[in-house]
Symmetry: C2
């Protein structure tokens, strides 16, 4: 007998018929002899509709406490309906709001962080043979105010519940059947990974693979919760996200990702003197603009080029700040370019395999793709290229690193 | 400075524009120097929509605990939206669910009874100058399960909050502007009462005047909470429901009410022997059928007629039970008649005024209306008549007892 936490997102519980599907799935798991805690999101569309109401009544910036009180009702509807649907199949179930299950968070409304969970309460319910149906995305602060974890918080709720219960696995049900080596819409040879490490998943998630929320992966890594990402619509195994030591060896590159939502900004001919970077990135940070890649290189004349990327929605504001800073430090010019894409290869194996970077650059060069910027971490290499070459680059890199069979033992069709 | 509890029903908070109206009303009361706690219902239509979902997921008889967890989200939406709308007008406000305000009830889901309220918590909020916006209709049991009070429970919530706070008044805002001497749709001379006693209001409410929930009036009477029934759409004074000693003297009859939703069932020629009534009304009670009037009279031959009334929706079931019982006790026959109406006159003054009943019968006789059944209490006389005479009877009685000026001091135009 295992203790299994199952998480179903908004699409999986989008209407009563889908909630009944989820109920059948939960019951099947219970009938297989397991204890089950289920964490659910609001029905698809519900949260958006509540957010619209919040702005209609509360204006552009509704009070965060009341905002949380309002939007948390979305998940409360789902838990009651799912508990009813499970009961209707003849199995005991009980719904719990964040407050009822002791999901304590800090008081940061709309982006609260989980601090503790009353695991004893859930164990008591599960021990009685009852399915615990828990509202994701929400908690309660020390004063009893309802808090929410921010968008995508339900994944984090599920992992937190699994961690608190010391569950055998946290199953995340979604509309895709796992984590792929790259975007299957772009590369037909993309393969579903059977296992991936937390670190790799973090790089994949932050680079654009939308399967799992980054926060939930960090949480799972911190507490060693095995995550199983799988499809709501099939019985097949999906992808396990596990400790590095549990991920099979041998794969140099687990995946190829891309991101076409950033813009590049370049300060030319900056005098190479202390404090230049601070003058630029200080105001950007204060403006709440998230800077991704940063590259600085000193030219032969002692002057410097600084290039960085920001989300495209922030291009104009970032450019204005860069121009202001450029004027202060005597830059020769400031340029913005939105026609760029970031393409990355991710893999634990890079740590131990030399030459991965140079091979990546060779592959791109042989396709005639110019590299504008390079950024690396222990398990990832990202390059900035012209946007129109995105598909070409992703296909070439996938063919070279994944389809070639390098690391076949860790990837399965 | 007074402490005022204001209750707004589903129609008054039916959409964001109406919620903003309520917010302005609350703010005006606060600006007049009062402390305000507001109790609200779910937005009109919301509860019905949640109930439909409950049946879709949970079948004909969804689990009562989950049903309450689901439908209580309706009021939670309203409190957050109203708090936002009040804040947007520049005034501090804070929403509270039943659980957050310590609205303790018993564990009888879907029809819970309030046991206590954490008044200190509300006083703390109000003392800080903040408007407390409280979810009506819901509470929480000793184990932290959400409970609901049943339909119309929001009135009861408001009165309970007012009682716990020792408020100066509980204002019930509704789509009519008070309690009338009779149905204004039937009698154009109907007048709004300025004051009415709890006892009279109870008789009026149970006889068909839909202004206030009976439970809330009982609660108000028990704790001596003055209720002010008034319109959401006007500033005019409505009707005060108060202790008998605070209701002005002089009015013999406060109102004329009618009820066309009952059916009459008659067992003819029952042998007059012990246990007959028990054989009949025992099974009716077990079937959950609420019997209203009961009259039994012994004929000259020693046989008895038993006549009683039930809601028309239960006519068929009641008739079947009566036929079964009739066969057992040797009744000569069982008849059902749905073409009847109950017309009543209500007034504290009846206690001290002899001859009210005989005057009532005279009035009806002079209109050629035959009386089928009579039932009286200390402050009410009800008669059962043919349904087609309802309007005629109500108008004649209103003219004779109310318009005649008997008790003018207590009724105001």
């Amino acid at each position: 007998m295992s203790l299994i936490v199952q998480k179903f997102g908004g699409t999986s519980v989008g209407d009563v018929a889908r909630i009944e599907n989820v109920a059948r799935r939960v019951v099947a798991t219970r009938q297989a002899g397991h204890r089950v805690a289920v964490v659910v999101s609001a029905m698809a569309g519900e949260t958006d509709s509540l957010v619209r109401l919040a702005h209609a009544a509360g204006g552009d910036e509704p009070d965060p406490r009341e905002y949380d009180a309002l939007v948390s009702t979305g998940e409360q509807k789902t838990i009651a309906l799912l508990a009813m649907a499970i009961q209707r199949l003849g199995h005991p179930a009980r719904s719990f709001t964040g407050a009822q299950i002791g999901m304590r968070t800090d008081a940061a409304h709309m982006r609260a962080r989980i601090q503790s969970i009353d695991a004893a309460r859930i164990h008591e319910v599960l021990g009685a043979g009852t399915v615990a149906v828990i509202a994701g995305f929400q908690g309660v602060d020390d004063e009893g105010n309802v808090t929410t974890l921010g968008r995508g918080g339900s994944d984090t709720s599920a992992v937190a519940v699994a961690a608190a219960l010391n569950a055998d696995v946290c199953e995340i049900y979604t509309d895709v059947d796992g984590v792929y080596t790259t975007d299957p819409n772009l590369v037909s040879a993309a393969r579903r990974l059977s296992r991936i490490s937390y670190d790799e998943m973090l790089e994949m998630a932050s680079l654009g693979a939308k399967v799992l929320q980054i926060r939930s992966v960090k949480f799972a890594m911190q507490y060693g919760v095995p995550i199983h990402v799988r499809s709501s619509f099939s019985e097949d195994e999906g992808t396990w996200v596990v400790r590095e030591e549990d991920a099979m060896e041998g794969l140099v590159v687990s995946g190829v990702t891309y991101n076409r939502s950033e813009a590049k900004i370049r300060l030319r001919g900056v005098k190479d003197q202390p404090g230049v970077a601070a003058r630029l990135f200080g105001p950007l940070g204060e403006a709440g603009i998230v800077v991704d890649m940063i590259v600085q290189n000193v030219g032969q004349d002692g002057s410097t080029d600084i290039t960085f990327t920001v989300p495209r929605g922030d291009t104009r504001r970032a450019l204005a700040i860069a121009e202001q800073a450029g004027a202060e430090v005597g830059a020769a010019g400031v340029l913005a370019d939105e026609s760029i894409a970031k393409v990355s290869i991710v893999g634990l194996g890079m740590k131990d395999h030399a030459g991965v970077a140079s091979r990546m650059f060779r592959v791109l060069a042989s396709e005639g793709i110019n590299i504008q910027l390079i950024s690396t971490s222990e398990i990832k290499i990202s390059v900035l290229i012209e946007e129109k070459y995105t598909e070409l680059a992703v296909r070439a890199l996938h063919a070279a690193f994944v389809e070639s069979g390098a690391g076949q033992p860790r990837a399965e069709a």
